[in-house]
């Protein structure tokens, strides 16, 4: 690492304050760390988790129900700190090595037969993947590894070494690339597979719980500032009732609720109608069987007056 103290200055403010004072200046800390943005509300616990992960230089692992804003957190962190965001969307076919670099052999084969480039210089056929790019970047970046559980079971373990050392070697050329500025690594998981223990031990972990009514109210206000108070209250009651039903297999999430509110607002559904039925139920329930189930459920909030 060639990091000098001059390089350290643009680091995230919080770590700076913490190091300098090693102390207890509450006000200073809360104002310099990540605190959520105008369109992303983060709970106090989540803000702390982000700040600790950054200061301790550990990856932040986020879990939570789909639609609780795991991916959006990385965008918010990057936006608030003014750092570029590099996203790596994991698929079931993703390989850990692809995140570091890809040796574009097809281009080289093409050049060997038809091209005029010097194919002995392998370096020009090495293309960096998202992790590789975040290491070789000249400035600090936010690296989002999205839905890590989609990949093969051994995938997280394969990345361990590189994320720990913040460096990797290109086998074909023997080059070693070390991060100039340690990226802020945010990893999300949807719990489709258990992650290996060795991997978990190195992360800071936060589980984003489903927002309660008060939080949900605040979230809706961010997206639809002019929503009618009565409509929102009734919609919230209906929504949380629906989520509580044991027969619903795919429970509606935050983003679905926001879409639903938008639809209710646009079409001007009267509050009375909302109290009597659930209009546009297709926006909330995405499974045919769930919609069928709804007919048989005993709705205790029906006709409720706010």
């Amino acid at each position: 690492m060639t990091t000098t103290s001059a390089h350290r200055v643009p680091r995230w403010g919080l770590a700076q304050v913490a190091r300098r004072t090693a102390g207890r200046h509450d006000a200073a800390m809360t104002t310099t760390g990540f605190s959520g943005t105008a369109d992303y509300l983060a709970s106090a616990d989540l803000q702390d988790a982000v700040n600790v992960a950054v200061a301790l230089e550990k990856p932040l692992l986020l879990k939570g129900e789909p639609g609780t804003g795991k991916t959006r957190l990385a965008e918010a962190v990057a936006a608030q700190l003014g750092l570029p965001l590099i996203v790596w969307n994991i698929k079931s076919t993703s390989k850990a090595k692809d995140g570091l670099y890809v040796y574009d052999t097809v281009a080289r084969l093409n050049d060997a037969r038809f091209g005029d480039r010097d194919i002995r210089d392998i370096r020009q056929y090495i293309k960096f993947g998202p992790v590789g790019r975040s290491f070789v970047a000249d400035r600090r970046v936010v690296l989002l590894i999205d839905e890590i559980d989609k990949a093969d079971l051994e995938f997280p373990n394969d990345l361990l070494h590189e994320l720990d050392r913040m460096s990797f070697a290109v086998d074909e050329t023997g080059d070693v690339h070390t991060a100039k500025e340690r990226p802020i690594v945010i990893i999300t998981s949807n719990n489709e597979k258990e992650l290996p223990d060795a991997f978990l031990r190195r992360c800071v972990f936060h589980y984003i719980s489903f927002p309660d009514e008060a939080q949900m109210r605040a979230i809706v206000r961010v997206h639809h500032p002019d929503v009618d108070e009565k409509l929102l209250s009734t919609a919230l009651v209906r929504f949380y009732w629906l989520r509580k039903q044991p027969d619903v297999r795919k429970r509606p999430s935050t983003s679905e609720f926001i879409d639903w509110i938008a639809a209710l607002q646009k079409t001007g559904v009267p509050v009375e109608k909302l109290a009597a039925e659930i209009p546009f139920v297709g926006l909330l329930l995405k499974k045919e069987s769930d919609v069928q189930q709804l007919i048989t459920m005993k709705d205790t909030t029906r006709g409720l007056r706010m």
């Binding site: 702390d48 879990k63 097809v106 084969l109 079971l153 489709e192 031990r201 992360c203």
Partner: protein, 394 residues
């Protein structure tokens, strides 16, 4: 005090590695706890706990370790049970409301601790003990102008220990619903790819890769990779299995969708496997068990699904109860034959391990290793099946 927290965590089953503990100490040394127990709660949880399933255990450990710090009583499971299903609150007159004089927080806490010590049973609608729908300052769903909410979720700013005592994450464990996708992911681990001798074919991927690396056209031939695992699923249906119908249905559809097995077969039985198996859930079409047995060999993996709950003679007697004395192979013997014939066998029980008390459960476990039909149990079953040699019969 920190050390006692460490041991409380371990005692509650949260395995904290020394590295993780040192990270926490590092963070505290740098002032991240901001000298507040509330912040320390979030900080230590994000560094020490890596599975939301352990949040509840962490909360209990935290409450136990820092109980003295803020003097809030631990909320026991028993007390929470008393507060389940609150009775509706009766209407109060204004006079009654006034009578409930507001107390300051410190007095309230002391009284709560006193009452928790006195209280031995469930109280609802009263004015003194911790209960529901009453006018006592303690409990759930009641009215008191100043009070401490016990159980249920609350709002506003609360101390870390009272947050921990709330045990908000109690349900996260059971929330991990075993859906078709989860089962599919677990079953996928069962595959074992192998190249068998046979007609060679052009390996397109490998040819391209090799050609590209050498910058020269190379053709690679080899036998194709195939999954060798064959799966035999035997479901217990009807009777005591009815409550688990939905769960079994999911397992069934996940196994049905799984396209990576060399072969798979599903049969149904009632209570235990006898001389007949059924190819449909309604048990209309039967197949002699001996024929099913003859069709499988050591390349097959056998999975039984059932609650293993029956009367002992249904499992052990050589002649089940509707055979009127005619001699039959007992159920347990059929299970043993399947377990021995296949490469490996496992029994998935939809019931919680806590209620595996039936003698027949014990007897069957002696023949076929049993696992709970949960995400965790399924994973362990698959691990067992992957590594298993034929089951040793005692």
């Amino acid at each position: 005090m920190f050390l006692s927290f460490y041991f409380q965590l371990r005692a509650h089953g949260v395995k904290v590695s020394p590295t993780e503990w040192l990270s926490l100490m590092d963070a505290v040394a740098r002032g991240f706890d901001r000298s507040s127990l509330q912040t320390f709660y979030g900080l230590s949880r994000s560094l020490l706990v890596k599975r939301e399933g352990h949040y509840d255990a962490f909360d209990r450990a935290f409450a136990a370790a820092f109980e003295g710090v803020s003097r809030t009583a631990p909320i026991t499971d028993e007390l929470l049970a008393w507060l389940d299903e609150p009775i509706p609150m009766r209407e109060l007159s204004d006079d009654e409301r006034k009578q409930m004089a507001a107390m300051d927080l410190e007095t309230l806490r002391e009284k709560l601790l006193e009452r928790l010590a006195e209280q031995k049973k469930k109280h609802d609608g009263g004015s003194h003990f911790v209960g529901t729908g009453g006018t006592s300052p303690f409990g759930t769903g009641g009215v008191n102008s100043a009070g401490i909410k016990v159980g249920d979720t609350g709002g506003g700013a609360r101390s870390a220990v009272s947050v921990a005592s709330e045990r908000r994450y109690q349900n996260l464990r059971s929330d991990r619903v075993l859906d078709t996708r989860g089962i599919g992911a677990a079953l996928r681990k069962l595959r074992k790819l192998a190249r068998e001798q046979g007609p060679e074919e052009l390996d397109v991927d490998e040819s391209i890769d090799r050609s590209a690396r050498e910058a020269e056209i190379e053709l690679v031939f080899r036998p194709p990779r195939k999954n060798r695992v064959k799966l035999l699923l035997l479901f217990d249906v009807g009777g005591s299995m009815d409550p688990y119908a939905q769960l079994c249905e999911r397992l069934f559809s996940a196994a049905h969708q799984a396209s990576h097995f060399a072969a798979k077969k599903t049969y149904f039985f009632h209570n235990c496997v006898y001389d007949k198996l059924y190819s449909d859930m309604a048990r209309d079409v039967s197949v002699p068990t001996t024929r099913v047995l003859s069709e499988i060999d050591a390349t097959w993996t056998v999975i039984f699904v059932g609650d293993a709950w029956m009367s002992p003679h249904e499992l052990m007697a050589d002649g089940n109860y509707f055979t009127f004395g005619k001699s039959y192979t007992p159920g347990i013997e059929w299970l043993r034959r399947f377990a021995q014939k296949g490469k490996a066998a496992a029994w998935l029980n939809p019931e919680n391990t806590r209620i595996w008390g039936a003698p027949t459960v014990k007897a069957i476990r002696g023949v076929v290793p049993m696992f709970e039909l949960s995400l965790d149990g399924l994973d362990r079953a698959v691990d067992h099946l992957r590594g298993a040699r034929p089951v040793v019969v005692p």
